[in-house]
């Protein structure tokens, strides 16, 4: 049994920021991750991070944009924290070495992003995530945080409503071990890979969310799934919103700049949910190109600007679509991008389970509500990562290390769980996974309605049944990827079920959740968060109020 005061599960931006803060506050802290931290999905973030550091900007203007963008589902007290703490967190990252793009006089440069009333997005070319992640990892090395690379946490251990640690699989030799801790911080990212088309890394299966859910913690607002308007046709690699921020135009096959029909004021810089639906409508109504895409054109921006600020995008287009955006438009289509929902947690990342925190994309602190604005997710990771690390470091000072009993029990349960999966015959994880991803894409996507959601739910339930019969055929001990995949597919099924049921019950259209059979937002009945608890036979849904402070819900127009 290994032990640390605090263990962070996940080595992306939020996890590293939490671990770093806890260490700075003097705690014995470790980070455990199934990939080395610099391989985390945070590295793929392109466009930027919001902070109201401009002279004419203010935190409450940032908060207003965020709340309006969220279609009024965000909790306004946590949004206030996000926006107030943004400048300090960004300056801190800058001071630690992040290579932000600069204005002519050497200050951090900012670019416009969708749904924002000010060019508020700080950026490092189109490699903002890469720069932030490497910077934070460097500082984690400097601080001497212990990092366990290539371990997959498979089960949280609990004792009398307290998280006592977890069981983890060492991918190197497939041995299970227990980790005991006074506090555990989940920072495992999103679940993009339950959708067929996703900008997410292949590793984003949402397993951390299912860990919390299985430990009895509610998961919140899971029906709100963000589809990014512009993913590269074919591979669905992200084409940053920064491309539109720099002045890119969207065209349909008749060379119409169609956004003037949908968001005449904001055009291409309307929030993501609106642009994604607009593109999807163009495609669905026959004005897309053959194969289902529209064009994102930056040829008018010129070679110099493209190379300077969008060099990574240019390379992606060349490598993955054979298109050079200096001379040709980029083929794009909407794809899954971000999970607004996640493990229900508060302003310091605390979940209802004592000793368990959740931050970053795996969490729902509810700063993004029904639709996240671009540039706010990177901000979310470092603001709430820092807060969770600090809170946990203070909390563990007065707590004794939990007893070993619950951990030993969990270890025995997990051993028997894995033993029962090994064997020939049965279902293959790949078939179940592929069918799940197709189901979610087809029936629980950009546009939803009762009939589709009911079909989707029936499919997910059928896949859950098949999921019980998946076997791991490979007996190798070293890096048994099949075993890891089988464990993850089971978690993917849990999450898909909750998303689909939540979406079926919510009879309104709000932010990214758009029902063609309930076109309007319904504040009277649905200005509330969904909470899903894991029960035998499926999720139990409950609802709780949205915290509203200074911004009264209004009709959302752009």
């Amino acid at each position: 049994m290994r032990e640390h005061d605090i263990i962070v599960i996940g080595g992306g931006l939020s996890g590293l920021r939490a671990g770093l803060e806890a260490k700075r506050q003097g705690a014995d802290v470790a980070v455990i991750s199934k990939v080395p931290p610099i391989r985390s999905h945070s590295v793929a973030a392109q466009g930027g991070i919001n902070a109201s550091i401009g002279t004419d900007d203010s935190w409450d203007s940032h908060a207003y944009d965020t709340v309006k963008g969220s279609d009024y589902l965000a909790d306004q007290d946590t949004v206030e924290i996000l926006c107030k703490e943004a400048p300090e967190r960004v300056y801190e990252m800058e001071n630690w070495g992040t290579l932000f793009s600069r204005t002519g006089d050497g200050k951090i440069a900012q670019r416009p992003f969708g749904g924002a009333g000010f060019p508020r997005t700080c950026y490092a070319g189109d490699r903002t995530g890469h720069n932030l992640l490497h910077t934070l990892y460097e500082q984690v090395l400097r601080a001497g945080v212990r990092v366990y690379n290539e371990w997959m946490v498979t089960r949280l251990a609990t004792d009398s409503n307290r998280c006592t640690g977890f069981v983890a699989l060492n991918l190197l030799d497939s041995e299970l071990e227990t980790f005991r801790a006074k506090a555990v911080i989940l920072a495992t990212g999103g679940y993009g890979r339950i959708y067929q088309r996703s900008t997410n890394s292949i590793i984003n299966t949402g397993f951390g969310i299912s860990l919390g859910y299985r430990a009895g913690v509610p998961i919140q607002d899971m029906e709100f799934v963000q589809f990014h308007p512009t993913t590269l046709w074919g591979t669905n690699i992200l084409i940053t919103e920064g491309v539109r921020g720099e002045g890119g135009y969207l065209y349909n096959k008749d060379h119409e700049r169609f956004m003037d029909k949908y968001a005449p004021e904001s055009m291409e810089l309307a929030p993501r949910d609106i642009v994604a639906r607009s593109i999807q409508t163009e495609i669905d109504e026959g004005r897309g190109f053959t194969g289902g895409y529209v064009q994102l054109d930056i040829t008018h921006l010129g070679k110099e600007l493209i190379n300077e600020r969008l060099g990574g995008i240019r390379q992606i287009c060349i490598d993955f679509a054979g298109v050079d955006p200096i001379t040709e438009p980029i083929p794009v289509q909407p794809g899954h991008h971000y999970s607004m929902g996640g493990i229900s947690s508060g302003k310091d990342g605390l979940t209802p389970l004592n000793g368990l925190y959740a931050i970053g994309e795996c969490a729902c602190i509810s700063v993004h509500g029904a639709n996240r604005l671009g540039g706010n997710s990177l901000l979310d990771t470092i603001v709430f990562g820092k807060r969770a690390g600090e809170h946990a470091a203070n909390a563990v000072k007065n707590i004794a290390m939990p007893s070993e009993d619950s951990l030993n029990e969990s270890l025995a349960e997990e051993r028997s769980n894995i033993d029962s999966m090994m064997g020939d015959g049965g279902e293959s994880f790949a078939d179940v996974k592929d069918e799940l991803r197709q189901t979610m894409q087809k029936y629980v996507g950009v546009y939803r309605n009762r009939e589709d959601l009911e079909t989707g739910l029936a499919n997910v339930k059928a896949l859950e049944k098949r999921g019980e019969n998946i076997h791991v055929k490979s007996r190798v001990k070293t890096f048994n990827m099949e075993l890891m995949n089988v464990l993850e597919v089971k978690g993917m099924l849990d999450i898909a079920r909750v998303i689909t049921e939540g979406a079926l019950v919510r009879e309104e259209s709000r932010g990214a959740h758009y029902r063609t059979d309930f076109l309007e937002r319904d504040d009277e009945n649905w200005l509330k968060h969904t909470l899903a608890y894991m029960k035998d036979g499926g999720p139990k849904l409950e609802y709780k109020d949205v915290t509203i402070t200074q911004f009264k819900p209004m009709r959302r127009e752009y």
Binding site: E138, F320, F479
Partner: protein, 253 residues
């Protein structure tokens, strides 16, 4: 059709397996490996994460050239000469005209193999970490953040783009003969930290002293293989030469 000839290795033996896969339009080597892993042999292992050439997990030898599997198209790789049996890693411009349909896939060179295509990256990371690759800025930042000249930023950026995939290490003839050699990626990072105006002078000097050795900047053969294979266009050799000049300039003063 395309044939993947994959080098396999476990605790006790090394061998090659050839898998026949159907080629789909735009298919990458990483996708082909997933196909094999999911449908033909679940025991095959390799690293991956982003599939978009930003995370650096899937560096491997493809036709004896170190590169990222996620951005190498099967259709292109199968037309190349596999250079099977060649002792040399990466020979520039050696492509055959006719389709041979076989792609040779092996683990990155100059690192110990753990199993199949998975190499011991810890030894590589340890080399990188040995130069204390972080900015040792003071706790407090200036009001409104540090300022940085945009031109200087541009110089630093070339090196910041490194994703630590170790393709350069796998191509480096010095790393092949000397496992204490710090590696092109490490030295590129040293130059990146050296250039940064936020770095404090003592740490900058300490790092410069550290790389002033045969395992450091003086070990480099200056053959530019690292520059040629870098998937992010980082030029380690230029950084190494700049560090050498900086060290010599220091000694003259």
């Amino acid at each position: 059709m395309v044939y993947l000839k994959i080098k396999r290795q476990d605790e006790s033996r090394e061998w090659y397996d050839t898998f026949e896969t159907k080629e789909t339009p735009g298919m990458t080597v990483l996708e082909a490996l997933f196909y094999v892993q999911e449908h033909m042999d679940g025991s095959l292992c390799f690293r991956y994460a982003c599939r978009g050439a930003v995370c650096g997990s899937c560096g491997m030898l493809i036709n004896r050239v170190p590169r990222l599997a996620c951005r190498t198209q099967v259709g292109i790789a199968k037309k190349e000469n596999t250079r099977e049996g060649s002792g040399d890693i990466f020979v520039a411009g050696q492509k055959s005209e006719e389709e041979n349909e076989v792609i040779l896939i092996e683990p990155l060179a100059n690192l110990d193999v753990i199993r199949d295509l998975i190499v011991d990256m810890d030894s590589f990371y340890n080399l990188v970490d040995s130069i204390k690759p972080w900015i040792s800025s003071p706790e407090e930042h200036p009001e409104g953040g540090n300022l940085m000249d945009p031109d200087l930023r541009e110089q630093i950026e070339k090196y910041t783009n490194c994703i630590l995939c170790a393709c350069c290490h796998g191509a480096c003839p010095v790393a092949a003969r000397d496992d204490t050699y710090l590696s092109p990626a490490t030295l590129a990072k040293a130059w990146r930290m050296h250039l940064d105006p936020r770095e404090d002078n003592a740490s900058r000097q300490e790092r410069l002293n550290f790389v002033d050795s045969e395992s450091g900047v003086w070990g480099c053969d200056l053959v530019y293989k690292c520059v040629a294979v870098c998937p992010k266009k980082v030029p380690p050799t230029l950084g190494i030469k700049a560090l050498r000049e900086e060290i010599e300039k220091n000694k003259e003063n």
